[in-house]
Amino acid sequence: MDLILVNLIDGLVTGLLLFMLSAGLTLIFSMMGVLNFAHASFYMLGAYFAYSISLALGFWMGLLIAPLIVGVAGAMVERYGLRRVHQYGHVPELIFTFGLALLIEELVQFIWGKNQMPYDVPDILNFTAFAISGNSIPAYKIFMIFISVGIFIGLLYVLTKTRVGMIIQAALSYPRTVEALGHNVPLIFMGVFGVGTALAGVAGVIAGPVLGTFPGMAFVLGSIVFVTIVIGGLGSLWGALVASLLIGWITTFAKSYNIEMESILNGIGIATPENMDDNMFRDFWSLTSPQIADILPYILMVLILIFRPAGLFGKRTQ
């Protein structure tokens, strides 16, 4: 029981982190119809910028400044890159962000080198907040939860209570109408792209110390963010939240409990074959849930796409 509680907390941290990325991505997608393949790269940039800033000004300034830099960088990418490619259609846009992801990874290696950066949790948060039957919950995790929830509430407030938010919300559903109403849609695009990437930047800043700051960090997270918003339903902020938490918990629980394929198969009435060494499927029989925990979201995504292409909360399929 205690372990379940601990796993719920751990899964929540993972899920909320994922949500910070998927929220930005889904905002960008809803506005511009572009799946931004480079989204996780901005997350990586956030971590690296924050690391460099933290060397000079400390962690907190990093948390403050790095997302701003990332946001501006994102806005510049939209203004001078994506907008240009926009005229050629969606596929080139997608391919552009794909190329951008590669380029950012190379750029990061060029500037910071290839090693993992010693970017650490600030001393003030480096203690155990509380323990549940011997499982310590680090204070930094609690901090991560607060930041993510804070950002979510902030986002919700901006989207539902402010004028800018109204326009964005309207643009989510009726992009053409909003343009017809005389709003500067390119500027909104740039802004949303900037804010979306800045959110990814925040995620990078706070995840860098715990998940590691290295050139492969974008790649590790990259496709799982798409998986999240596809499962949640493209363009749905709530869907992104639900899917993020779902993935966070599924992977955490799958890792925490050794569920064996053999017992599942036996459970549904398939007997274990006798001569396991010669069996073609021996590796399949010996599967355990931690082995495949991080692949589960992909399975989930493929199933959802087959049976409910719009995703859990989505309306649009394209």
């Binding site: 372990l3 601990v6 796993n7 751990d10 941290v13 993972t14 290696q109 080198g113 290839k114 090693n115 993992q116 950066m117 010693p118 650490d120 155990t128 323990a131 011997g134 499982n135 310590s136 680090p138 715990v210 998940l211 590691g212 290295f214 050139p215 492969g216 960090m217 790649f219 590790v220 997270l221 799982i224 992977t251 955490t252 629980f253 890792k255 925490s256 050794n258 355990t288 931690p290 082995q291 495949i292 925990a293 991080d294 692949i295």
Partner: protein, 415 residues
């Protein structure tokens, strides 16, 4: 854009045409390892160590065979078996007869097979494959061949040493084994089970699991299980970001025992572990750096740091590889006849500056040497890694470890 195409075409031409002309005024060694991509830091540091060793140990002492210099040429294999085979071909065409490689057993497997096939099919341009770090036991067992020499202890030998260390520590009775879900991770797990089962009745393996390689973002759930299992020792074969992620997560979530591992030093990992890993991370490996075993070793390290201030001597076997190759070439009296050089290498006993001897076993071309258990710490460190204050210090030595370990290798000399 067109221009870059042009550069590509022009350099291709110059390379391909110029290649065959570039015949050996020097003895060339091809270093085929990742120089770009995610594993580039390990590869680049390895290349520097090879270049330094060739320069410091051979060229500054007057070269080989009466003055011929040794040159290490880097080839970027992007840690891809396919690219490795292409670069192998390029190296052979440039007249290079010695191939060194170490990162990834997958690449080593591809290379050793390719070298074997190449040597069979092209007796005029045979090459030797000097493996300095790929530890899949099969390379000197089932998959051994005459052209392959391994200068590192293989995974089972290292696990033998690790389990020696664990069984001699009476405070350890529960061991947790965790690794990446691929051949090496599985081999580590199998070896740990085998050796612990053989050596001790009291030690219980409380967990044994695999996680996807390079895909885990957050190791917390694994750490929870390790803490919950009550383990007082962890064995892992993880490397790179998976090692760092796992190690930090275990310690941060309340585990306080030792973590025995293979690859957790240098390449930024030592610095990134920092205070967190102190006393927890224990490594198995050859080549003592702290405290330095000899003045020679200290001088070597100092000279290396002067040349490469950002580098580490974290693979002392690299200098053994160069030293033994040089000795074999001198003994054979030729660098062109690789069969003679191979025969000189097989069975060679070599005094290494890092203390003790290295013996290249004739039956399987596996080096037998002293293995050490190191501790990640900042106390008593003369030569720290990654320009941090942390480094690894020897806490236990197993002389000529696993010297009698069995091999299934049936060595066939070329006809």
């Amino acid at each position: 854009m067109k221009n870059i195409t042009k550069i590509g075409a022009v350099s291709a031409l110059s390379l391909i045409i110029g290649a065959s002309a570039a015949f050996a005024e020097t003895i060339k060694v091809a270093f085929i390892d990742p120089l770009s991509g995610p594993f580039a830091s390990t590869g680049t540091n390895g290349l520097h160590q090879f270049e330094f060793a060739a320069d410091y140990m051979v060229n500054q002492n007057g070269g080989l065979l009466g003055g011929t210099q040794m040159e290490v040429v880097g080839f970027d294999n992007k840690i891809s078996p396919k690219e490795s085979l292409i670069q192998l071909q390029v190296a052979i065409d440039q007249g290079i007869r010695y191939i060194v490689q170490g990162n990834s057993s997958g690449v080593a497997n591809a290379l050793t097979e390719a070298v074997d096939k190449h040597n069979r099919r092209n007796p005029d341009s045979r090459v030797l494959f000097l493996n300095y770090a790929a530890v899949d036991p099969a390379l000197t067992n089932d998959k051994c061949n005459f052209w392959h020499f391994r200068f590192d202890a293989h995974a089972d030998m290292k696990m033998d040493a690790v389990t020696d260390s664990i069984t001699s520590d009476s405070s350890i009775d529960k061991v947790y084994v965790i690794g990446q879900d691929y051949s090496f991770g599985k081999a580590v797990s199998a070896a740990a089970n085998k050796f612990l089962g053989e050596k001790s009745d009291t030690i219980e393996i409380v967990g044994d699991e695999l996680h996807p390689i390079g895909k885990v973002k957050d190791f917390t759930p694994y750490s929870r299980k390790i803490v919950a299992s009550g383990a007082n020792a962890v064995i892992t074969g993880n490397w790179g970001a998976d090692m760092l992620g796992l190690g930090k997560s275990i310690v941060e979530n309340g585990y306080s025992g030792p973590i025995y591992t293979y690859y957790a030093a240098g390449s930024g990992i030592t610095a990134a572990f920092g205070e967190t890993g102190k006393g927890a991370i224990r490594l198995v490996g050859e080549g003592q750096v702290n405290p330095p075993p000899s003045d020679e070793a200290a001088a070597y390290y100092t000279a290396f740091k002067e040349k490469y201030p950002d580098g580490n001597v974290d693979q002392t076997r690299i200098s053994n590889t160069i030293g033994m190759l040089a000795k074999a070439i001198e003994e054979a009296g030729t660098a062109d006849d690789v069969v003679a050089v191979a025969n000189a290498l097989a069975g060679m006993e070599y005094d290494t500056i890092w203390g003790g001897k290295v013996m290249m076993r004739e039956s399987d071309h596996q080096a037998i040497q002293d293995l050490h258990i190191f501790e990640h710490t900042n106390e008593g460190i003369d030569f720290p890694y990654d320009n941090s204050e942390y480094g690894v210090r020897v806490i236990k030595t197993i002389p000529m470890a696993s010297a009698d370990i069995e091999t299934t290798c049936e060595m066939k000399a070329p006809s």
